[in-house]
């Protein structure tokens, strides 16, 4: 937790955030203390009850053989962690999650960038572009899962109709273990790319206009401006969007679970799905908690790595 602190503050603080609170000169110090804590108390209660306590209790549970039904609960030391690290299903789920993250992050960053750069050119129809690219993001996982189950229907789905039109063989998108992960990636890219698109759009609008004007005067065309101004200026935004996307993709569960009808398959089971299955299907709370913390550790390592990369880049400058 503490190790991750620099990450977040680096991500979000930037230079503008360093201004500290200005203290009020008047008023007695003691009452200021009380008022400060009074403003904080409601949040702190919720924070302690629904975040800090579950984190601590989860760590405790991961060292027990607690079950959902209340039986067990004895201290088992590192047995759950030892089991997790030698559990082939855990490693399978880990592999699937990394594979999904790789397959989804690349198009989710590149397509979002392409959309944002094109929309930022100021072509007519702004509201239409924004609506069509971002709208899917607003839909619940249930809704998008149902739409894509229908599109991927092996007999009468639209996806196979398209394949047929090109003279290709139909595919059992969600049933065939060789392609079902790809089907989930396609649905996910459609669903969430709009979020990255908006982040890129905001970053694009912050590139100083003068740079383009200067480049124009020097006779640089559109392509040249894109490669030598737009892309380099978007570097930091890309690092941030990439990291956020990796973190989001690692949490794969909702759409995969629903698109496969709750069936667990060895080619798509993600880490979060395995946490859910061992806790709420297998009733092994202790083991499930241990997997949760292995997963949490991976996320913290990623955040720290990102912080280190960002810091190094700053030093270079």
């Amino acid at each position: 937790m503490t190790a991750a602190a620099p990450t977040t503050s680096t991500i979000v603080t930037g230079r503008a955030g360093t201004r500290s609170a200005r203290r009020h000169a008047g008023g007695s110090h003691r009452s200021e203390q009380l008022i400060g804590w009074a403003f904080l108390t409601p949040f702190l209660i919720a924070f302690a009850l629904f975040l800090v306590w579950p984190i601590l209790h989860g760590i405790y549970l991961s060292f027990t053989d607690q079950s959902l039904t209340g039986s067990g609960g004895g201290f088992v030391g590192f047995a759950n962690y030892a089991e997790a690290l030698t559990d082939p299903v855990m490693w399978g789920a880990f592999g699937n999650t990394v594979w999904f993250t790789l397959l989804s992050t690349i198009p989710l960053v590149i397509i979002a960038l392409l959309m944002a750069v094109l929309v930022d050119r100021g072509l007519p129809g702004q509201w239409l572009w924004r609506l069509s690219f971002f709208m899917p993001y607003l839909l619940a996982s249930t809704v998008i899962s149902q739409i894509w189950i229908w599109i991927f229907n092996p007999q009468i789905g639209a996806a196979n109709n398209v394949l047929k039109a090109f003279g290709l063989e139909p595919i059992a998108w969600l049933q065939d273990p060789k392609v079902n992960m790809l089907a989930i990636v396609i649905a996910t890219v459609w669903w969430t790319v709009g979020f990255n698109f908006l982040l890129y759009l905001a970053a694009l609008q912050n590139i100083p206009q003068q740079q383009y004007e200067a480049a124009s005067l020097d006779g640089a065309g559109g392509w040249r401006q894109f490669w030598s101004i737009t892309l380099p200026q978007l570097g930091p935004a890309t690092t941030l969007i990439g990291l956020l996307q990796i973190l989001a993709s690692l949490k794969l569960f909702d759409q995969a679970y629903q698109m496969l009808g709750g069936l667990s398959s060895d080619t798509t089971r993600s880490i979060v799905q395995y946490i859910y299955e061992s806790g709420f299907v297998g009733y092994r709370f202790g083991y499930s908690a241990a997997i949760s913390y292995v997963f949490f550790a991976i996320i913290i390592i990623l955040c720290v790595a990102q912080a280190l990369i960002t810091r190094r880049r700053k030093d270079v400058r």
């Binding site: 403003f39 949040f43 572009w129 619940a140 229908w150």
Partner: protein, 298 residues
């Protein structure tokens, strides 16, 4: 880093430039850009349009595999009337509306109070407490489902709306966003009121909050969408059909009526409708809200 991060997070940062006008020349590049954009937009709209088209077919037409946009028996609202005649949809829509509203109101209230304390008030432990809360942004909620469920069992809140709502109200990222906004409000405005004898709370209520309306709206919309669409936690904590939210409730019906394609699509369209309307009304705030709150919306 600085330029981009500031765009992503700085509330109300002035737009550095207005959108460039389309090339005075009608270049090949512009035409190409437009064509690519159009293809992408069609690609992104098609799945949804296809769902709508299916929803207006009869079950027979939908199951026939005929790829036409309109079924052989013509468009019909049969699927919608079938869905709406099952009372559950209204109950679930209401449950979603009220729990998402409760999550939003509580989150925004407690986050704004805390953010103001961190921004303006001096008390012991302010710095390290803020660091702890910021660090908590990286905690993935999925990691906490086991201990949270255990806690809800202990509080007797499993299968209740409060059990659904309360664990969703802690949003450290929102505290951070609001604090940054409050930091940027000129303190002179508050000082004048304080000299006139206004209490801290009064200053917060009648000066700071009104000035913060845009950011509060952004945060509120963001939290609301997240709560409305949340799946995993409501799915775990609610078992009683009459207490389910729309995403979880629809999931159970769909499992039961899996082969009635037109009805399933009609449900999808109905569930999507409220958020699409919200988006059309609040497009500007949502676009800005994603840019300012985006990094915490995981």
């Amino acid at each position: 880093m600085t330029t981009a991060t500031r765009t992503l997070v700085a509330p109300g940062a002035p737009r550095a430039r207005s959108r460039r006008p389309i090339g005075r020349r009608f270049t090949v590049l512009t035409v190409l850009a437009f064509a690519v954009l159009l293809i992408l937009a069609i690609g992104w709209l098609l799945p949804f349009l296809w769902a709508i088209a299916t929803a207006f077919k009869t079950e027979t037409d939908a199951a026939s595999g005929d790829p036409g946009w309109i079924g052989a028996s013509g468009p019909t609202v049969q699927a919608f009337t079938a869905i709406l005649s099952q009372g559950n949809v209204y109950v679930w829509a209401w449950n979603s509306l009220w729990t998402a509203t409760a999550v939003t109101v509580i989150t925004v209230t407690i986050s704004a109070l805390a953010a103001y304390a961190f921004s303006r008030l001096d008390f012991r432990g302010r710095k390290w407490l803020f660091v702890v809360i910021i660090a908590a942004i990286v905690v993935p909620p999925q990691v906490l489902i086991i201990p949270l469920f255990y806690e809800m069992l202990a509080f007797n809140l499993v299968d209740t709306h409060w059990g659904l709502i309360l664990p969703q109200v802690v949003a450290p990222a929102m505290v951070f966003i609001l604090k940054r906004f409050f930091d940027a409000i000129p303190i002179e405005l508050e000082d004048a009121a304080r000299v006139d004898g206004a209490s801290r709370f009064r200053v917060f209520w009648s000066i700071v909050l009104p000035l913060s309306r845009p950011i509060l709206a952004s945060v509120a919309i963001f939290v609301f969408i997240g709560a409305w669409n949340n799946f995993l936690w409501p799915f775990l904590v609610i078992n009683d059909t009459s207490l389910m939210t729309l995403p979880v409730g629809l999931q159970t019906v769909i499992s039961a009526y899996g082969v009635q394609y037109a009805q399933v699509m009609a449900q999808a369209v109905l569930a999507a409708l409220p958020l699409i309307i919200v988006f059309l009304i609040f497009q500007k705030q949502i676009v800005k809200g994603v840019a300012t709150s985006g990094f915490g919306g995981q």
